[in-house]
């Protein structure tokens, strides 16, 4: 697959979709949280474009993964940072690629260990096929259909680039 994806363009569109989404739902002053690492890169850009006053939160979901017993400790070790109390806040959770939905489940479990948010909306750069859990995104940069052996991987943070790979 050699289709060029313009990430900057997608981010601009996503930022305006998020604005529209929060405006429509009456979620003024939301708190943005990115999932490490790709989601946090995306979230940083969106956070800047939207000019939110609260600092960006970052989640490392390594301790909440459901594949720990087979894959072991995840190499990503930098800890989660949620600088603002999430209690009763509207949260925009950001990830790079939505695939099985397991990462989002883990992220939501972790968020609830920090407090009870008012709501969580999900924004993803890429929504790809292959969901294994009933999880959908509220804001999507681009939807793509991929087969089981294909993977969409974001590299970054400078520059951000998306690569579609065949894995054996």
């Amino acid at each position: 697959m050699s289709e060029q994806i313009n990430i900057d363009e997608l981010l601009t569109e996503m930022a305006s979709s998020i604005k529209e989404h929060t405006g429509r739902s009456g979620h003024e002053d939301p708190l943005m949280i990115g999932i490490k690492r790709g989601g946090a890169w995306i979230a940083k850009q969106l956070h800047e474009q939207l000019g939110y006053s609260d600092p960006l939160g970052e989640l490392n979901i390594a301790f909440y993964r459901d594949d720990f017993s087979t894959l072991g400790m995840h190499p990503e070790v930098s800890p989660s940072q949620l600088p603002v109390d999430i209690k009763n806040r509207h949260i925009i959770l950001v990830d790079d690629v939505l695939y099985t939905g397991r990462t989002i489940r883990a992220a939501m479990n972790e968020i609830f260990d920090y407090g009870r948010p008012k709501s969580i909306s999900l924004a993803v750069l890429i929504d790809r096929s292959g969901r294994e859990l009933p999880i959908q995104a509220d804001i999507i940069g681009k939807t793509i259909i991929l087969n089981e052996g294909e993977h969409a991987k974001l590299s970054g943070p400078e520059p951000l680039a998306l690569e579609i790979k065949q894995t054996g």
Binding site: F63, L71, G72, V77, P79, S80, G115
Partner: protein, 326 residues
Amino acid sequence: MTGNTIQLDNNGNLKHFLTTEGLSQSLLQKILDHAESFATVGDRPVKKVPLLRGKTIANLFFEPSTRTRTTFELAAKRLSADILNLNISTSATSKGESLSDTLQTLEAMHCDMFVVRHANSGAAHYIATQVAPHISVINAGDGRHAHPTQAMLDMFTIRRHKKEFENLRVAIVGDVLHSRVARSEIHALNTLGVLETRIVAPHTLIPKEVESLGVHVHHDMDEGLEGVDVVMMLRLQRERMRGALLPSEFEYFQRYGLTGKRLEKAKPDAIVMHPGPINRGVEIDSSVADSERSVILQQVSHGIAVRMAVMAMTMGRSGDDMEENE
């Protein structure tokens, strides 16, 4: 069988944690990195992560301990594991049950990890050779041999305060002879690449082989503390002393007790550490133990994070399935 072949699995992951000796610098740094992530769990409203949910850990303490046992217990609970505390000295063995029978009984209860403290050197290592392949063993102190999680929490504390190990001078002061902590610290400090490790103690409290570990020995405390970045005090282990190793505690304090005046020999930003429990007025002056330079209580909190890291690393190993299929 050396410590390393039994501590690591086929993929080089930590399977048991028995000694700091022979582990690579990158593995020790990895333990510290993971501990850094786990340290934040204690600051959250819910001080728990689901990593070891459904796992059962048995604290096997053949020798009494309060702080080590409780921090292992808290670490296990923060990882959502279930933990059994067994004070073996007061239970089965006093009824004549052999060690291997005790272990088999616990395996039959589907335990996944044994945390072992024992008065005999090599006990944890022996247990690691006896257990079923899926069980991990962590050494919580064996005789005079090793106390690797204590050493790693000390390394974690040093790294938090000093960032890098390369340019550090570290003095380990006191009863090195009876100290498993000192042995594990020396191995870890060597591997992490400190500039210099010094041992400061009277002749009678220094083991014969110690200089072969690459440390500098000092018998004069003022000399030993000159220009150091870290002062690691050891507890005078009176309960292990048979015979006349020391004149008196008073005299010991006169020569090797850490006072504010002695500490002036160290660098102005030197930190003071102690594995606890401290004997005030024997190896350390109260005013030093309670001063701003003392990081003794931080060591206790760091112990939880480091033990979480080691438990998680030994229980979750990548490629485990493959290994079992072989």
